[in-house]
Symmetry: C2
């Protein structure tokens, strides 16, 4: 699926169709082990999505589309295919790309059956990688020579089909000889920064230093961050950005310190039907993701934990939104409408 | 050592002198187990301090003083006692209270020998608990009825000899019938919020909800925080506050959302010899505190991690500083000088 034939990508595709199954990198096992999950049914895939074996808004878009292809192949009744599509689309609520991918493959299936659904999913997957390379090329211009880039969570190859969005920007800057270095917030509670982003950057030969999320303020105050680059799970029509919990504090701190705050995301992340960030549903995940780390309970038994998976950064704190169609600047309303249609 | 004879404190003293030894709650074992470390030598105590069996600025003040008493009892040569005092004072660099406690006990020893050093340490310990109760009484006025209080790290009984500073404020509000509820940031990397603060509040019957540190921005944006109350490791002459890493982002977010940001600390935390926060030494702790959680490496082997233990909040973001002598308001320079002399 990764389309560049001139070199071996050090990171395999996050998701691909193999012999009638959806094969995923099992992101729960990283960085300790690079292993794969083979989903033979929609139930398998819904489970992989809700347990975050696969995660990241663009990867979920492809997962939704491949899931419909799987449903079309494995389920006999049309009503069952549509029900499976609804289940897939509801497996996680915040990333708009999931329902976008489901809807696109479902429309193809309505028109042309199972083969058309699979072909659409393959198109989405290939377009994702190509789009991410374009995001990287557009975004690299926002990364100064030898920049110290702060990122959060994982908006890398593993959050997409390949290449990455926010990390695609860092990677393109690296490939252009700009020698960027990355600070990566570990991203509690699920630690996607520590487990996934650090793993990717390490494989790509980009210098990376892990930090506790709460250290970002100190780094900005000491002048050690040149630009913040993050991904997005949904961008509202006015430019408000839902992304992994902890993104919003970085945007507030970046503004406080005059550091550019850049969002990199494909246009499939833009949701013109959601007027502002306050209308974006924010997933609450299980409390034990916070209270239990590596199998060990870190808080007294019985103590409550809250676990909002995302927060919303208002458009006024966003310096630029990088899409595969170019770099958008405020005010975002018209720019987003033009880019996503 | 906890001085109120009218009821049994649900949390034992953090540090006390018992039969020629310094007995500490072993904070590394909480919340799983309430166990104690008995330090028979200055080396034992230095080890307990540097491994954070005992931590928290006011507790370190008492530990430093009891350490000098231990040195005076166990070491034969005056030069050895002075060398031990220097070792104790250097065991951790940021909390000014540690050298303050060491210096006070050492002066007592110079004047009156081992018994005078121990008497001075006992006075410091008793004064700490009484001072914290006074901090609580002064600070409770800043906590509205049914307030949702956000705190960070542990500035509770365990960070002091007893009762706590920031948690002392919450506790006093609770005892006054105000029914506060607490949000507690887990406080990566060492998780003092999850392990210690949640444990204390739970024992005290104060409702507590654990969060990942990065969720604080979302909580403030949704209007779910009425006041932030934190402790301090050192307060510079101009009111800049060094405290656990992650405090500064909370102060910036609190300002952004019009939420009062309150620091609670004894006057021994004020360092008039440090003009501003930029002169406060910030300890860098071992990278594996970040990269290894509960014995499991969360990042790929070989990936670097940075681990600043503290950050500095500028005075302009601090709404009030609560000391045992009363509530200080900006501008802080004169107020701090008056309070600490």
């Amino acid at each position: 699926v990764v389309s560049d034939p001139t070199h071996q990508d050090p990171i395999p595709p996050t998701i691909e169709w193999r012999q009638g199954r959806v094969r995923l990198i099992d992101q729960r096992a990283l960085p300790g082990e690079l292993r794969f999950v083979e989903c033979a049914s929609v139930d398998d895939l819904c489970d992989a999505i809700s347990t975050m074996a696969v995660r990241g808004a663009p990867a979920l878009g492809a997962a939704g589309a491949f899931g419909v292809a799987l449903a079309a192949r494995t389920l006999s009744d049309d009503a069952n295919v549509r029900a499976a599509a609804r289940r897939l689309g509801g497996a996680r609520p915040t990333a708009i790309n999931l329902t976008w991918g489901v809807d696109r493959a479902l429309e193809a299936w309505e028109r042309g059956g199972a083969d058309a659904a699979l072909a659409e999913a393959e198109r989405i997957a290939a377009a994702d990688v190509a789009g991410n390379r374009a995001i990287g090329e557009h975004g690299a211009g926002l990364v100064p020579q030898s920049a110290r880039v702060l990122t959060h969570c994982n908006a890398g190859s593993l959050a997409t089909v390949g290449y990455g969005t926010a990390l695609g920007v860092v990677r393109a800057a690296h490939e252009a000889g700009k020698r960027p270095r990355a600070w990566v917030g570990e991203t509690r509670p699920v630690l996607q920064g520590a487990r996934l982003t650090a793993w990717e950057l390490d494989r790509l030969g980009i210098p990376v230093t892990l930090i506790a999320d709460a250290m970002a303020g100190s780094l900005m105050a000491s002048g050690d961050v040149d630009v913040v680059v993050v991904g997005a799970d949904r961008i509202a029509a006015n430019g408000d950005v839902a992304n992994k919990i902890g993104t919003y504090p970085l945007a507030v701190l970046a503004r406080e310190h005059g550091v550019p705050f850049v969002v990199a995301a494909p246009t499939s992340t833009i949701d013109l039907d959601t007027p502002t960030g306050s209308a974006i549903p924010v997933e609450e995940r299980p409390p034990d993701e916070v209270a239990v780390v590596a199998g060990e309970r870190i808080a007294p038994t019985g103590v409550a934990a809250a676990n909002r998976a995302f927060d919303v950064t208002p458009a006024r704190l966003v310096t630029a939104i990088v899409t595969e169609r170019g770099v958008l600047r405020p005010p975002y309303e018209d720019a987003l409408r033009t880019a996503s249609t």
